[in-house]
Symmetry: D2
Subunit: 274 residues, 4 copies
C-alpha cells in the first residue's frame, strides 16, 4: 500500500506520521520525504506492506497533520491513461508495448490522434483509436476531444508528441493531469520547431522535457529531462532523429514516476520522490 | 549538527528517532534513511540546525536503538586526511586546490609520495610532503609510512593514484579509513594496467572507481563510479589521458560524500545517503 | 550509395580513393576513415550521392588498394535479420516496432524463441515466430534452429535476450553475423546472472554491452556499451528492471550502426565509423 | 605537424589535399574533415608526422584550394592565453594546475581579476596577476584591461568566470579569441543569475556552456556543453555548487579542443574535429 502526503511543514511531522504507522502496526518498507524550505511544504511517500482500512487511515492522518494537508492512502495502484498523438509513432509505440505487457503502471483507455496513421498500431494492440481532425476549427476539435474523453475513466492524459497547442480553456479542465513531452531541454527552445532552433543555435546537446501542461505554453512543472550529445555533423533532421530516442526515454521515465505516485506538484515545480 | 546512525532494523525506528528529536526540540532540516532488507540493517543521516550536548544525545539515542547500534552525534565537522601519491598529479592537485580553498570538507595533514616529483606542488600549497621510497623492501617502506602517519591526527588516508600495492598487514591497520581511486570500472580490469587491458578488450567506455581498501586487491566497498565514452580511435595512452579526468571527478565525489558523513559501510557495500 | 573499405594501411590511400571517386564524377557527401596504427589497418566508409555500376567500381577500387582489401560497394541498403529470444519482451518489442515503421535499417525475417510467450507480439506485427525447445538436447535444438534459419535469407542474427549459450559449432557457422546484447558492462560480470553479480559487488553503475558473438562466451568484439547510475537502494530485481531500459537502448544503437554499414571488425575489436 | 584548412566546398578537395600530401611524402597520421552542406563549407584538420617547410606547404595548399581558403600549417603548437577572473577559483585553479604541469596545451601569460582574492593562487604558481577594478567606470576598466593585455603576446583570452559584461567595443577587438564559460545550458538561462533562474524554473538538469564571445551577450558560437542531473532537493546554492564541477570540466574540454586546433568557427556555430 502507498501513502502520499503533502502539507505545510511543521517540526515533528515525521515523528507523528511514523508514530501513527507504528501504532497501527504498519510496516514501512520505503519512506521518502522532502521539505521545501522556501515554500515551507512537506512531502512524503510511504510504502507499507500491509493493507489496512484506507479511509480510516486517511482520517487519522488528516487529524494528525496541519490544516490543508493532502493525503492519499492507497491511490489507484494502477492508473488509467488516455493518450493523444499526432503522426510520430515512437512515444506511442513505447507506451503501447509497456501497456500490453503490463509494465506501464497504467492502463491505456484509448488513443486519440489528429491524423489517422497511428490507428493501425493501436489496433494491433487492441487499444481503441479515435480520429479528431484539427484542420478546421480548434474549438470544434477540442469539443470532439472532450466528448471522447468523457466516455472514459482516466487519471492522466498523455500528450505523446501531440503537436497541436490546446487552448487555455481546454487545459484548465485537467489540472495536474495533462502530461506533455517537449522535444527540447526546456526552457531552451520552447514553442515550435525546437530542433530547427537547436540546429541554428549550434548546440552540442539535444534534450527532451516531460512536464505537466498549464495555461502557459511549455511553462508547466518539469517532471523529467535528459539530454544526449550532438555535434557539428548533425543536421536538423539528424537532431530530430536522435531526439526521438531521448523523447521516448524521458516520457517513459516521467510516466513511471507519475503512475507510481512519486510526483508532487508544488507551485510550478515538481518534487519527484524516486 | 549531523547525526549518523547504523543499526539492526526494527519497526518504528524512524518514529522513535524523530520522536526523540522532537522531544529535544531539535529541528530536523534534512533526513535520509535506508533499510537494507537483505542485511536487516537501518542507516540514517540527520541534519539538525541546533547544537545540543552531543554526548547526552548520543546516550539517549543508544538507549532507544537496538543493541549494537553505531551512533555518532556531530562527528568531526571537518575531517583530517593524509594523502598518498606516486607520480601523477591530477587527483592530488584537485585535492590540494579544494583543501586550499576550504571546500574539500577535510584538511590535508600531509602528502606522502613514493617519488619526489609531487613535492613541489605540495610546497606551493604549504602542505608537508614526505618521500618514502618503495624501490627496496616493501616492509621497510611501509614502516616508514607508519612512522610518518603516526605523527598526524587523521580520519582518512586517501590513495590518490598511489601505485603500490599495500600489504594486508598495513591495510588491516586502517579499516574503513583507506580510500583508493582505481582507474577502471571495477570489477572490470582489476589489478595492474587497466587502461592497457581496456584497450585490448576494445571497450567503448572508460571508467573509474573510488572504493575503500580491504585485504583483497580492488575488492573493497565501492563508494562512487563513473564512466566516459571511448571509441576505436582511442589508443591506450588516449584512454589513460581521458581516464584522468574521470578519476579526478570520481575521487572528488567520493571524498565529498565520505567527508560529509554520507557513506556507511555494510559488509562489502556502501550506502551513500546523498 | 555506400562504399566500405578495409585493407592494410599505406601512405596515400585516401588520396587514391578520393581521386578515383573524383575521376568517376562521384560526389562524396560523407567520408569517415580510421587507421589502426597497431594493426596497420585502414578502414573507410563513404557515402556517395550517385549510383554508378557497383561491380565496376568495386573492381577499380580493388585494383587500387593493397592486396587482401575488402571492398563492398553498395552493400544491401536494407539488411535482413533473424531474431532469437527467450522470454523477455523489451528488446524484441523495440526491434519489432522499428521494423514495422521501417526505421530499423533491416527487415526482420522471423523470430525464433525457446519459449512461446513472445509469439503473440510477433503475430501482432505479422512477423513469423518459431518455437524451438531447449529443454532437452542442445544439439537437437541447434539443429532445429539451423533448419529454420536455412529457410530464410539473412545478413545478421540478433540475440535479443536469448538466454541460452550456443555451442562453438553453431557460433562458428555465423562469423561476424551473430550480435548479442549482454546485460552488464563487459568484461565485468560475464556469464550468468550479471545483475545478481552486480548487486553483490555493490556497483554504482549498471551497464549493457552489444557485441558480436565468438566461440568464447561474452568475449567477442564490442559494438556499443552504455551505463546508468545505480545506488544502494537498488535490489537485484531493481537493477534488472533498470537494466532493461539500457539493454534496449544499447542494442538499438548497435543495430543502427551495424545495419548502416558503420561497423568494421578488426581482430577482437570493432571500429565504428559513426 | 598540424594542418588546418577551411574553405568553400568543392568536389575532389580531399583527393587534392591528400594527393599533395602524398606527393610531398608527408605521412598523414590523423585526418578529420567535415562538410557543412548548408553553408557549402569544407573543414579539415590533418596531423602529419613530418616537419616540412611550413610556409612552402601553405603556399602549395592555397594554390590548390578555392579562393578565400584559410590555411594554417603548423599553427603555434603551444598557444598563449590570458585569463580573466572575478572571485571564483574553480576554473582558474584547474587552468593553473594544467598550465603548471604543461598539460593545458597553452601557456598562461597572466591573470587579470576584478577582485584581488585570486592573486594568491596565481602567485603560488608564479603566474603574474593584475587587479583591474570595475567598480567605477567600465570604460576606464576596459582601458586598463587593454593596457595589460597589450604587454603580452597571446592567442586567446579566457573568461574563467569573469562576471562582468564586456562592452561590444572591447569584444570586437578580439574576434574568435575570447572564450567564455557560461553557467547554464545555453540558450536556456542566458544573462545574470542562471542558477537562480534554473532553480525557479525547477529544471532537472544543470548545464554549462563554453562559447566564443561576440557582441551579443551569451549568443556566440558554442564550443562545448555538458550537464549533470539535479532534483527537487537542490536549492539555488546547491545548483551553483554542483554547477562549478561541470563548469570546470566544460571549460577544460573547450580549451583542450581550441588549443589543439580542433575548433573552427563558421558563422555562429563551431565545427569541433575531435
Amino acid at each position: 500500500m502507498i501513502v502520499v502526503i503533502q502539507c505545510t511543514d511543521r517540526v515533528g511531522l515525521v515523528a507523528k506520521i511514523s508514530g501513527l504507522m507504528a501504532a497501527e502496526n504498519l510496516n514501512i518498507v520505503a519512506m521518502h520525504e522532502h521539505v521545501d524550505k522556501g515554500e515551507n511544504m512537506f512531502f512524503m511517500r510511504l510504502e507499507v506492506t500491509d493493507q489496512p482500512d484506507a479511509d480510516l487511515l486517511e482520517q487519522k492522518l488528516l487529524q494528525l497533520l496541519p490544516e490543508g494537508a493532502i493525503v492519499r492512502v492507497n491511490p489507484n495502484p494502477e492508473k488509467k491513461a488516455i493518450v493523444l498523438v499526432t503522426k510520430e509513432y515512437h512515444c506511442l509505440a513505447d507506451i503501447l508495448v509497456r501497456n500490453h505487457f503490463k509494465t506501464l503502471g497504467a492502463s491505456v483507455q484509448c488513443v486519440i490522434g489528429n491524423y489517422t496513421n497511428l490507428e493501425d498500431i493501436c489496433k494491433r494492440f487492441d487499444v481503441p483509436f479515435y480520429h479528431v481532425a484539427f484542420e478546421n476549427s480548434k474549438e470544434e476539435a477540442e469539443n470532439n476531444l472532450l466528448n471522447i474523453i468523457s466516455q472514459y475513466d482516466y487519471d492522466y492524459i498523455v500528450l505523446a508528441k501531440f503537436m497541436r497547442v490546446l487552448s487555455p480553456g481546454f487545459v484548465s479542465r485537467f489540472p495536474n493531469r495533462l502530461i506533455n513531452i517537449h522535444h527540447s531541454f526546456l526552457p531552451a527552445f520552447a514553442g515550435a520547431n525546437p530542433y530547427r532552433q537547436a540546429y541554428e543555435r549550434g548546440v552540442k546537446l539535444i534534450g527532451a522535457t516531460a512536464h505537466f501542461v498549464t495555461d502557459e505554453l511549455d511553462e508547466g512543472p518539469i517532471i523529467a529531462q535528459q539530454i544526449i550529445s550532438a555535434d557539428h555533423s548533425f543536421t536538423a533532421p539528424d537532431m530530430m532523429k536522435a531526439g526521438k530516442e531521448i523523447e521516448t526515454a524521458v516520457l517513459a521515465k516521467a510516466l513511471r514516476m507519475v503512475f507510481d505516485d512519486r510526483v508532487f506538484i508544488c507551485k510550478n515545480k515538481t518534487v519527484v520522490l524516486e
